[in-house]
Every structure is written in structure tokens, then in C-alpha cells.
Point group: D2
Chain length 343, copies 4
């Protein structure tokens, strides 16, 4: 349920509604807007006795929400969220580009890749320290050493850092190093991890599960927000279908659909979305054209030598091409690219 | 198998190879190229005794093709095909836009829609006369009367006509009226219909089946080409997956993948690809950005009054917006839009 | 809509209702039951003005059907249908077994397979004369010669014959030879073929399309029934999913679900359902246990030498084992196996 | 890689091979068999220099394993595993039945359900204490209180207890109470949880992920075994497809396929596999007929009052019917049902 306050409601009136909601055994989430404040009410498994709220001073309306998600929905929060990742803004007018290798490599290679990402117009660096791998015998990442390498990348390039956490304890470690914590597709419904990410307060990059519906995807984000952390960026990365010419099938329609239901930013991952190096650039263009807020792309100075996922990793030149093409499509969708502004 | 002739091979040499192939009980398909001719050999279920061909005058090389498709493949025909539909070219530098209602309506409404399509920059008109419907009790189209209405649209607007044929006998009727014959998703593996379309010689718009792999899609086109008709335009229109927020899931990766395997043009149908009116324009942009040769869009002057599929039909204003946005994305993918050239 | 007549309604009363329905521009389908007759009304796209019918003599009730299918539904026809295929009954207490090669082979081999099918307890022989193949270059069946071979099988073994028709014209030929006409998965929504099958009056074995919902499956059967042919036997043969260890994924839940919605018999095809020889017997057992009315199995005296689909064809010994195991599971599901009765 | 020792190899010879493998930086897993011992070698990302092993005393053969899984595979362990869950054996001749509510309820209700499970022939009790739910606002289980209720069920009925763990820390708590730890479908690739389950040494009931291939499923089990815990029971519980008449599509072919690749027992969950109460019994029969080692079924004394998942929960009478039908199908697949032996 959503309690919509009048435009002239005072802070005291808002506080009084929050108190009443809490006394009912429910949770209140004040959501300040440009003109008025709304108060999201969660925890109501059954019908809330709302008469008590309706007559309180400053209350304009009660909105019963029919979608299963609340905090992530446009009903609760009609204005688009802009998520700040250490100064880089996702969800605003500017498109954001994230690049880097699948796994963090040795320090020199990683730094060389990062400089190329920055020079091309990327603002965030990606690289796995802890890799969830199908086989226990596959390379699982360099662990905390890799986190230290990422720290060095930030210091030397100014790029922000996103890297994956794989369990609640691990998330606490990752949160010390990263500007944004990635929750991977396989963990999209790892609810303990989602709650821990919520508690961390850090920006979260949440990837869609490989067979999740959009509703389940938004509900996973709801777990993070319900812990008091509004900083979630969604990521479409392809779903599993019968189609065999790609590793996954990118469901680009999810991007405008999510934007019609939720205020959260959503970016696209054409690397995992296709699993084929030559298709990354075309699908990157398509994702921008469909309305994504940015891209996350696996890139390497020498893709054939990548520690993992080389088959879907593009060279630094293709990463630069992707940013360039995105900047040319951007005006058609009312967007800009920061690094191209001076041009 | 492919017999590659030398650049200076004479017509007599080519003819002699064709004759030898025929004598072996196989079919020969000469494919003239800019520099040299290649001769596709089909019908070889088992190993061809190719020594006899290798030593003939003018023969440069024999290429054994490993893909199951032959005539549609780039090995047989390395140059991109440009298909001429009554003067409108698909597969060249210019993007082509097809618009019109799901079903052909009464004459006045149909003409009014067609004028809007033309004015927006569309060059081909779509509209179903014979509709394959899930229920025998649903509206099945106005039949031959609708074909006559399409004829009137052509006369009065200059638009070319594409409409669907649903069985071999019906195709012979449709071929009298249409400039291009559509084979729908449900009939993608209706092999009798594909062969009849091949025999007609008419341009064929072949839609991907809703659970077909790209390989099966190309093999369906191979049926048409194997009957001597090279004029096939492919169309990605979404596949069936678990995702419930759209009617189908558009597999835009199929477009660059098809282009990497086949010389045939491929367009996109964001109307059936999404099944949701508000998503047609975003996915149309994405399809152009990913590299489609054109679009086919369900449009109506009054979508809410459409005889069928109104929920996925866009108004004439949105159709014009789609063409406009495509023309702005076109340069990024090395394309142009004819109607915008003079601007 | 369904008009339920009183138990004591006279033939004249029934006739009068049929006449009224017809005058409304609709179709009436009298469905005689054990105690009373119901009259199915189809063709009503919009609300029927039913008051006129409700007050007619002998009318007990009007039932508005909410399922999109009518003639195939239990509302219209609450008793289970038993379909007679030249004396072999599908849908009754006895399970029926269909066996034979993918494609009809030479006469001697085909007869040898057929004798093994009969000796094992099979009552119907399958074998393709016209094969819909993904590639135009694959073996497409021996055509009418194969139909003549099937005729010989019937004469010499007493087995009934089911074989596939691939287009309306072809169906007229097949109907001359076959006791039951198969419509394959690829043609499940080939509506012209379905209508022609309906007009033929012959029993139809309708296979589920590889990505069709159960509702679409039942609507395809509705096409046949709406032409006046009630003799449809459904067949679950696996659907297309991401799973790669089998050619298709058998959706055995479709069998009890269909039986809860429709009176038509439904059998299972574990050969196409798995595409793997070693899995045919286990899934055949499962299909009987789940409630199928019978099985259709690809079998050969020498599976490794089969003209097509050898990889999913079982030997005659395994066919006999399948019938034997089915006869042991039959009592658990209230069924019997004719050939085992005397044991 | 697998080192196959001679039948007469001494323990000292085996020990020497293990030592050599360890010195190479790899892990050795001796697998005693009826006639001879094999030694599984894992950790070899690249080619092992195996010449050194081949010439050691007692070594008969080196087998290079091509499947990505090792410890779970039949190459490493050709005899079927029988997993002992506090005295109840999974994977032997006897079928095992697990029953209980979705969520553990209050103590009286839970005990009443348990007695019905035991009386019907069930040997293991299921019930969720910690429920992974799509929505953060849905009931998440009674937590440790529920674990105590399960403890009481064991004391009072003699049933063994299986219940789900949802993160590594939580698993350590669950392991104190449960005889077998369930890892749910959403966590099938929660690798931290799998490793923790491996370290616990407790029997693990591992459910197939809703879009996982069988290979990924076996690789998930490999994570548990690679931590030294061989006690894994697999569970097919349906996969996600386009089919809408059930919550999931049971992929029963996975059962014989897993049995052809792995020595681990595999049971079926027709409750989640269908999500529809009326389909649980038919699919339970099918699962036994296809070769499952047992069943896990959601059952309640009053399904309509269940705390969660009531729509797919069967009454105690249907649970008893399921065990009864399974016992009648059992002989066809060479199985027995313990509770029916005395009959």
C-alpha cells in the first residue's frame, strides 16, 4: 500500500503516519518526491486496516498496489531513480559504460585493460575476483588478491569498480573494495545474499537470472530495497531458450518493460547475452537503441589470452567502437555520452 | 559441393560442368559473381565422385560445404543478395519499411492506412487476406475480396503488396495479386507450401517459426531456393520462451548471425516479436541498430478498431516515428533511408 | 454455447433447435449422449441472442462455454470418446500399441517389421510414405509406392495402417490407403491440412506441435471436429526446451491435463519424445503410468539399418518388452492389454 | 583421470599411487570396488604427465575421462551408490517415499501430517523451516522453531528429517537438526552453499535448477563430492518451459539419463514438478515407471489450509494412494517397497 501525502504536509504529519504504520506491525518507507512525499507500506500479508491512516492529517490518498513488487515499482516511486556509484550516475540522461575482463588478471594486464576502458569513455571497471563456475575444477578467480588489483585500478585510472560477491560472508569482504557489488545471474534468487547486499548499503548491480521472469527479477531487487538500500541497478544478460546459435538469448524487450514498471536503472550485458565475440557490438547497439541506461562489456587487450570467457570477450578497439556507436545512437533515445560531450 | 570456376572460364566451360553434374544425377546451380562463376551442386546424399569435375577446363577449385544449407549459404554465394520486389530493393544500402494492418479491412479504411504508410516513408504494404488463426471460430480474413482491395492499394498508392499464403493451392491465387508472398511462422516447415513458393518464382517473405533454430530457418529458405527461386527475404519475428511479459521473445541476435551465414536479406517484425503496442517502437529501433535490412510493422489509422491484433498494432503516427528513428540510426550501421534522402 | 436437451426431448424438438440455431447464422452440432442430447453451437463470435433457444420445447439448459475449444471439450461431450480405427478402439479400457519404422522400407523389410509388431501385441502399423524433412536434400520417403507397401502390410498381417499426410492434396491420396491419417508436429497449425482431414472423415492422429501449448493443441483438434469429423486421437511427442540430453522434452503432464479438458483419446510417442533409443522404453512405461491411451513407437528389425531416424528406433525385442511392461502397469491405471488377456 | 588398479594390487601399491598424484599437485580419490580399486584424479586443469603413474606397480590402466564431471560419474564409480540417511537407504532395490508439508506448521498439525506419512509407508519427513520465497513479503518459514518441531517429529514417529538450507551459515544450523539437507532449485548453483554442504558430510538432497541442463546438475553434485561428501541424492523437480498448464515441466527423461551417467540415486518431486494438486499422483506413477529411486511429495492432512503451496499439496489419502500405486508398479522396474513386503 502507498500513503500519498498532500503537497503541503509537514514533516510532523509524515512522521505521525510512519509511527501509525509501525504500530500496526508494518514497515513504513517514506519516499520524498519533488512535490510531495509518499510513504510505502510493506509487510502487509493480509488486508491492512487502513481507515486509521486515511483520516490522519496531511494524508491525501491511499493507493493499493496490485503489482507484487512495491519499493521497486513506479507506483511507490514515480520518478526515475538515478543511482550514484562513487560519483558516476546511472539512470540519468548520460549513458554509462562498464568494461573489463571476465576475471581479474595479473596487475599489469589488468591495468593495461583498464586504461583502454577509460580512454574509450568507460567510467566503471569490471573484473571477477570470485567466479561462480559450473565446474569445481575450473579457475575460480584470484580472490582477495584480485580485489587488491581492482583497488589499484581505481587509484591509477579513476575508474569505479564493480565486482561480484558470491555469498553473504564474501559480500562483506567484497564491499570493502568495490564501489558496486555485482550479484550474478545464478544468485539472482539467493535471497540471503540479496538481503546482505541490502544491508551493505552499497550500490548493487543485479543480473537477471537465466530463466527468471521480469516479475521475479523485480522481486529480487525488492529484497535489496526492503533492507533499506535503494541503490540497485538492474542488468539484462540474456535468458536460456532452445536457440543454439548464442549462449543465451538476449531479451531486449525486458528493458522497456522494466522501465514501464520500475524506476530503477537497467543496463545490458551483450557479452553474456550472446556468448559470441562477433555479436557483442551489434547487440550493444541494439541495447542502447531499445533504451538501456548503459552497458557492461567483457573486454581485454588480448581477448584470446583472457583467463576466462575469451570467446565472448572483445578487444579494446571493439570496446571503443561500441562506445562510439552508442554515442551516435544516444540522441535518438534522448541520451548523451559524457566522454563525447566536448566533441 | 561448390565448383568454383576460374575468372577467365568461358560460358562453354561452365555449361560443360553443368552437363557433367547433371549426368551424375545431381543438380547444378550456376551462381554468377562479380569476378567468377561458382556452380552449386545439390542432391548429393552421398560422396560425389568429384575427380571428374576437378579436371575439367576452367575449374579452379572444388569446395565441400559443411553447413547443411547450400544455396542460402555464403559459401555458395559470398556476395549479399539484393532482392527486387517490383522495384523495391531489399538487402542493399537502403532500409525498407513495410506497414499495414494485420487483416485487410474494408476498402476505405485500408486505403487510408496505406496512404499513411506511404507518407511516412513505407514502400511496401502488408495486410492479411487469409489469416491462419488458432481457433476455427476466429475471423479468418476476407479472402479474395481482400486481395482485390490490396490490388486497389497498389494502384492508388504505388505501394508494393505483401500478403500471406496458407497452402499450395491458395498460394497460386495469392501469387496473382501480391508482389511478395508471405509464409507465416506456423508454416515455416510446411514444406509443400515452401516448394510451391519456390515454383512461383515470386519474392517470398519467410518468417521464422516460433520455435525454430536459425539452422532450421535457413533450411526452410533452402527449400524455396532449391526450386529455382532465389528471391527470399527472411524475417525474425520472435520465438517462444518462458518469458511472459511479451507474446514472443525477439531473438535479435538471429539477425547478425543469419547475416554471417547467409547472403539473404533479413528484416524484423517487432509487432509479433513483442505482441505489445508500446514495445513496437523500442524493438524496431533495436532491430535497425542490430543490422536488419528493414522492418515490417502492423499499423492502423485507428489501432483500437483493428479487425485483428489491435493490441500489437501501432497508430500511423508511431509508424512515422519508427521510420524517422530508423533513419537516424541508419548511418551508424552504414545504411540509408530512401524517403529521407532529399532532406 | 451448449444447448442441453431434456432427457425426454423428442427428435423433433432437437431438430427444431438445430433449425433455429442455423437460422441465426450459426452451426449446430447435435451430440447424442447416453441419457440426453446436447447441441453444440459454434460460430458465435459475439453474444448469441439465446433467449429464443431457452424457451423452446425440450430445452433444459443453456451452458456458456468459457474454454476457447468447444467440440473437443468435456463441456460439450462429457463422456470419453472411443475412436474406432477399422475395428481397433482407442480411448476405451484397452491400451493400443502402434509400431513400425520411421519411413516405409522395401516390401520385405517392411513386412518383416510388421509381423514382429503384430506378434508383440501391436494392432496398428506406422511408417512414413511422405516425410517432412528439415532439409530438401534428405530422403523424403518412397511416396505412393510406400502407400502400396502399407496396403500389403494390412493384407498380410491384419494390422491397421497409420501414415502421415503433408498437404491437402496429398491427404486425399493418403486417405485412399490409410486407416488413420497422421498430421505431424510441424503441421499441427497447418489449418488447411486440418480442415481437409476434417472433411475426409477418416480417423486422424494429431501430434502436438513442438512449441504448442495444450490449448493450441486442442484448438487444432477443434479444426478437424468443426468440419464434422469427430475421430481425432491426440499424441504427445515432446516439446522443444533448452534441455540438450534429449531431442525433445516429453511433457507427460499434458496427458492427464488433456484428459481433464477433453474427451478425445491421447497417446504418447516416446521415440520422437526422446530421440534416444535407450530412453524409449523408460518413457513408454512412464506414459502408460501417467494415463496414456496407447503408444506409438518407431521399431525396426534392424534399427541400425533404418532408412531414417535409426538413432531413436528400437529393435523388435524392445518393442515387445514395451508392450509387456505396459501390460503389467495397465491394471494400476485401470487398463488392459488385449493381447495379454488370454494369458 | 582415473587410475584403475589391478585386482591383486596391495594397499601399499594404492597408497603409493595416491602419494604420487598428490606430489603432482593433484587430488587422489581412492574408490574401492567389489573386485578392484580405482583412484580418481581431480584438479588437472591441463594435461597430466601420466607416464609416471602408468608404470607404477599394481596399475592396470589409466582412463581419461571426457565427461566434465568425475566423482559423480560412472567412469569413476561404476557401481550404483546407495546413500544411507540415518538408516534409510536411497538407491538400492527399495523405493523410498518422502512426504510432508511445504512449510513446517504448528507442532500438532505437523505431527498429525507426519503420522499419516509414516502410516502410508513414508520413511522420511519433509517440511521447510527456512523458505526461499520470490517475495520478501511472503511467509519465510518458522526458522529454528520449525527445526525443533522437526526434531519432535523424528522422536515421535521415527521418520527421518529432510529440510532446506539457504546459505552457508544457515546450513550449519540446519545440519544440527536434519538427517538430510535439502538444497533447493534456486540454489543449485549457489556454489558456496554446495561446498558447505560438502564439508558438512551430511546426506544432501540436491534439486535440479529450473533451467539447468543435466550436465550442470551433475556438476553441482560434483561440488559436494569434491569436498569429500559422497552422500548426494539428486531430485528432478521440473524445468521452466513455455508450457502454461503446469507450474514447471517435469523432465522425466532426466531420470534414466542421469542413471546412465552417474551412480548417484535420483528421486522425483511431482509436487513442484507440476504445481497442480490433481497431477501429482499421475506424475508420481510416471516417475516410478521411468526408474526413479523414490519420491518427495508435499502432503497435508488438510491441503486447503496449508501455510504455503496448498495448490500443489495432496491430502494424506492421496499420499497413501501414491505409495500404493508405486508399490504396484515397482516390480516392473525391478524395485520393491519396504512397507508392502509383509503383505
Amino acid at each position: 500500500m502507498l500513503v500519498v501525502m498532500k503537497a503541503n504536509a509537514t514533516p510532523e504529519m509524515i512522521e505521525a503516519v510512519v509511527k501509525s504504520v509501525t504500530e500496526m506491525g508494518l514497515s513504513a518507507h517514506p519516499i520524498p518526491g519533488a512535490n510531495r512525499t509518499a510513504i510505502g507500506v510493506t509487510g502487509n500479508k493480509t488486508q491492512v486496516h487502513s481507515d486509521r491512516l486515511r483520516v490522519m492529517p496531511g494524508v491525501q490518498d491511499l493507493v493499493h498496489v496490485t503489482e507484487p513488487y512495491k519499493l521497486v515499482g513506479l507506483d511507490f516511486h514515480p520518478e526515475r531513480s538515478v543511482i550514484d556509484v562513487a560519483g558516476v550516475k546511472f539512470g540519468g540522461e548520460e549513458l554509462v559504460f562498464i568494461g573489463g575482463p571476465c576475471s581479474v588478471e595479473d596487475r599489469d594486464t589488468t591495468l593495461a585493460i583498464a586504461r583502454k576502458v577509460r580512454d574509450a569513455g568507460g567510467e566503471v571497471f569490471r573484473g571477477g575476483a570470485f567466479k561462480p563456475r559450473t565446474s569445481p575444477y575450473s579457475f575460480q578467480g584470484y580472490g582477495e588478491d584480485a580485489l587488491k588489483t581492482l583497488d589499484a585500478v581505481r587509484s591509477e585510472t579513476g575508474l569505479r569498480i564493480v565486482t561480484e560477491a558470491i555469498d553473504p560472508e564474501n559480500l562483506r569482504l567484497v564491499a570493502k573494495y568495490a564501489d558496486m557489488i555485482q550479484i550474478g545471474a545464478r544468485n539472482m534468487q539467493n535471497f540471503s545474499l540479496l538481503r546482505e547486499a541490502g544491508k551493505s548499503g552499497k550500490p548493487v548491480l543485479l543480473k537477471r537470472g537465466m530463466s527468471s521472469t521480469v516479475e521475479e527479477f523485480l522481486m529480487a531487487a525488492e529484497y535489496v530495497l526492503s533492507e533499506g538500500n535503494p541503490n540497485v541497478i538492474l542488468c539484462e544478460r540474456g535468458v536460456r531458450t532452445f536457440a543454439a546459435h548464442t549462449r543465451n538469448t538476449m531479451d531486449l524487450s525486458a528493458i522497456p518493460f522494466v522501465r514501464s514498471k520500475s524506476h530503477l536503472p537497467i543496463i545490458a550485458d551483450p557479452s553474456h547475452g550472446t556468448g559470441v565475440r562477433d555479436m557483442v557490438a551489434p547487440l550493444a547497439r541494439a541495447a542502447i537503441a531499445v533504451g538501456a541506461d548503459g552497458l557492461i562489456v567483457e573486454t581485454h587487450i588480448n581477448p584470446d589470452q583472457a583467463l576466462s570467457d575469451g570467446f565472448q570477450t572483445v578487444g579494446s578497439d571493439v570496446f571503443a567502437q561500441i562506445v562510439d556507436e552508442a554515442s551516435r545512437i544516444a540522441p535518438v533515445v534522448g541520451r548523451t555520452v559524457a566522454s563525447r560531450k566536448s566533441e
